[in-house]
């Protein structure tokens, strides 16, 4: 079982595909669950405490906004843990405030820097593209299985 980072990290389709073909998806839900189930100080809604931007310093410099650093404390450890990545490049749903947008850019940058197998895709826009999309993911994940 290979740990596959998915981008967008909340993607239902990618999360399902990775698990369906026998690997472990690294999605934001897993990082959020870890925080929501850990006792500490009340910091609604996501239990992101003032400690998180400090942890985020590992991936983003101190002059980077705390919103980006706080988010990176969720995604950074997962990117380090990732053994492969699937990236959807036209994911309009991943838009957001500057914190989200810059974090997304940083996530993609870190993934491209990392020497792991990566699959770049766009969302399918027709049935035939859907076939190519699923086949590409299956082939990519199959090769990961053969490698590990």
């Amino acid at each position: 079982m290979t740990k596959v980072f998915i981008y967008p990290a909340t993607s239902l389709i990618l999360s399902d595909m990775v698990a369906r073909f026998g690997h472990t998806p690294l999605s934001s839900a897993v990082a959020i669950r870890e925080r929501v189930q850990t006792a500490g100080l009340e910091s609604a809604p996501l239990q992101i405490t003032p400690e998180e931007p400090k942890k985020g310093l590992k991936w983003a410099a101190v002059e980077v906004p705390s919103g980006v650093r706080g988010r990176m404390s969720l995604y950074g450890p997962m990117i380090e843990e990732a053994e492969a990545a699937i990236i959807i490049n036209d994911a309009d749903l991943a838009f957001g405030c500057m914190g989200c947008a810059r974090t997304n850019e940083l996530i993609k940058f870190l993934l491209r820097q990392k020497d792991i197998p990566k699959l770049d895709l766009d969302y399918p826009k027709s049935e035939e593209e859907g076939v190519k999309f699923v086949a590409a993911i299956k082939r990519f994940l199959g090769e990961l299985g053969a490698r590990s």
Partner: protein
């Protein structure tokens, strides 16, 4: 700041999303209750939210997927169902995160078709999709729209 005491520690929560002509969330909920042993299940408009011990949830999701494998999609969720920080009953409007799922629900029919087709066709013969990192020439229809928007 007040102390935070978490609930449902050690559990996992999963969404089971149904996009099928044959199966409804109610059908899945009934099947889920048949095989569940104390997990919490919530029926929603798009499927189910299941919370429980990891091995029990895995067993149920594996069984539910068998009902209509190409049209049932599963993903993790961070919060348990009905959590006041996320539930729309407390916040009003759609739950944060629903819009992303709603967007992907428009794409899921193509993915379902793909899942059906790869069973019938040899996967090695299916060409790879276009590489999104390649520079794309400007689409002629998009150029026309740009010109028209400038002229009007």
């Amino acid at each position: 700041m007040t102390d935070y005491v978490p609930t449902h520690v050690g559990t996992v929560t999963k969404y089971v999303v149904v996009e099928s002509f044959d199966i409804t969330p109610a059908d899945l909920a009934i099947r889920g209750y048949e095989i569940s042993k104390g997990v919490m299940m919530k029926e929603t408009c798009f499927g189910l939210v299941i919370t429980g011990k990891p091995d029990e949830v895995d067993l149920i999701t594996t069984e539910l997927r068998k009902v209509d494998p190409d049209h049932i999609f599963i993903k993790d969720r961070g919060f348990p169902p009905g959590d006041p920080r996320r539930c729309r009953a407390n916040l009003g409007g759609a739950r944060p995160g629903y819009h992303g799922m709603e967007y992907e629900m428009t794409i899921i029919p193509y993915v379902s078709h793909g899942l059906e087709e790869i069973k019938k066709r040899d996967i090695a013969t299916i060409p790879p999709p276009a590489n999104p990192l390649d520079a794309k020439p400007l689409d002629i229809d998009k150029l026309k729209k740009l010109l028209e928007s400038q002229e009007s």
